[in-house]
Assembly symmetry: C2
Homo-oligomer: 383 residues x 2
Amino acid sequence: MDDELRRGLEGVVVDETTLSDVDGSAGRLVYRGYEIGDLAESASFEEVLYLLWHERLPTRDELADFRDALAADRALAPAVQDLLADLAEAGETPMAALRTAVSALSATAPSAGGEPQNAAETRERGRRIAAKMPTILAAYDRLRRGERPIPPDEEYGHAADFLRMLTGHPPDEVAADTFDMALTLHADHGFNASTFVAITVASTFADIYSAAVAGVGALSGPLHGGANQDGIEVLAEIDRAEESATEWARNRVEAGEHIPGWGHRVYEVTDPRAEILRERLGKLSAADGDRRWLEYTRGIETHLTGELSFLEKGIAPNVDFYSGAVYHKLGIPEDMYTPIFAMSRVGGWVGHVLEYQATNRLIRPRARYVGPADRAFVPIDQR
Amino acid sequence: MDDELRRGLEGVVVDETTLSDVDGSAGRLVYRGYEIGDLAESASFEEVLYLLWHERLPTRDELADFRDALAADRALAPAVQDLLADLAEAGETPMAALRTAVSALSATAPSAGGEPQNAAETRERGRRIAAKMPTILAAYDRLRRGERPIPPDEEYGHAADFLRMLTGHPPDEVAADTFDMALTLHADHGFNASTFVAITVASTFADIYSAAVAGVGALSGPLHGGANQDGIEVLAEIDRAEESATEWARNRVEAGEHIPGWGHRVYEVTDPRAEILRERLGKLSAADGDRRWLEYTRGIETHLTGELSFLEKGIAPNVDFYSGAVYHKLGIPEDMYTPIFAMSRVGGWVGHVLEYQATNRLIRPRARYVGPADRAFVPIDQR
């Protein structure tokens, strides 16, 4: 046992996993060995959830059953709807509302009577949480705008029904496919902070509700989930200023400022998720004829990768550079970007909790005490 | 950077702290250098919270202001009371109800407009959470029994007012002092699982509500907070069986079974918290004339430490061995033992978050991928 201080646990290997692998030097992300690009292109988000929770891709029948079960679980109990209305009236943030509503779900959880660490029960409860998160978020967004929530419709897929409940009309195919892809792209990413928090909570054999609620809390932090709003703010700034994106990027770099959505702690060459969303942004722009956001991203990209050789320096656009523009075109309000990240990442939280609890070990690091030693207690009148 | 697998992060030093030190080989626990025994005996729980959050003991005026602020924050908003009534009606567990109610508190949080990582705001919000937890728990226990919650009364101290709101009558001095001591004893204990979870959530600069909610979730796990119900179950078993406690202990040890409340992962010689509660159990028993629980614990202790020389083997009674009997005599229902642990440990959560965020570093360990490599995607019809 060494006594080295491991701040941030950087580089500390806390467990093995078969869920996902991030290979920064190759610019690759795989879920259970499958390339993220293949999954985004060819598998639905429901299929990806199945893969993360059952260790393999489903057959057609298994997927049909899984989709049905997920869709059937989408509806909210009246008490949760009332809770959301109260939170909306109080002006709560969407992430905090999601945290409270997910926590409230356990009160109406059907129990198989198993132990909290029972894998079948965890999987079923995890599915229930994942199913209801889109309904919670869409309802919350409508309630705070003074509109009535739209109930779920089992005929729609997971991604499409969220857009329908949020905007009030069924999405076209490009929009539904794009959002489905976005959910797949964000579903897992190694031991990021929220996943590690969910695992640590579950390592006490607390149930999946406690783990997921903790995950939502961690994701709400600006150093974790919060960054995915920055990209769209840049584009909106360019749009308002009627500035050329190239000009904007030049000024920003010359002023020594960071360009949001560029560079990644892990990916050194390219973020594979960014490439997929770049293409989808093109498709969405062709479909609705509004090419502004696409052009802004292209303008920035041309300047940074051309004149400034960012790619050669290991600085590539990351997933957040395009996700904001994509979500904007899907009609999703900016402060819902982090909540929909949670809607997706819950797939990873549940998958990792299932994997971790199978060979569980309570997570409990040490702290080195550097405070005062042997202080004599001083009665209050002598202080 | 080594690649060694650190399961459970056992022995990994993740940070330095000045809050508390657990010296297992000496059987000592200190908060900021003060012996836990001195604090339990001479300081109120409010004073200990101040010590944990402000790094030093308060003057008389500072303590008076702090107590007033804490007492003034005890009342619950109507929406939180309604939420508790809904949860009670659904038969939610007290720990899950606490998790949901604490999460809901952020909706009505007065904001100083600071960043979430603003220390003054975190301290104020932490105080608000700590202040309301007793009210939440007492109200919840009454609601599920079909009784009306009793509103807080600022005239009472933190510990005494909880007992009053729970039982419906003001506690006598021995009971109030004992519960105040129990809160002090459980307020901090290094980087236990719930504290580490709270810190990890806060390391994303998520706010103290998210950190505390995650802490409650972690504490709900049977491997962490859950153990403090085991002690009383043993005593109740002896009581029902009308068995001699010595006989019970002998049979249990001969059958090769573990005795709940004996032995501790860290304390090798003695758990200083256990000694304090042993003495309080004696005082409570003398006060109400019912010496059964005291005699049961003594019977077990006599057998294990006498005939079986447990102490020489490094197995001493831990805090849970006496806490159950003490709480029972204070009129606290068994499934509230873990929730009152949270009521106390929130002191440590808030203190550690304040300390950690001052020199923050995002906590993000690694996982080693051991899943399949380079799998070709198989279309659903070919699976």
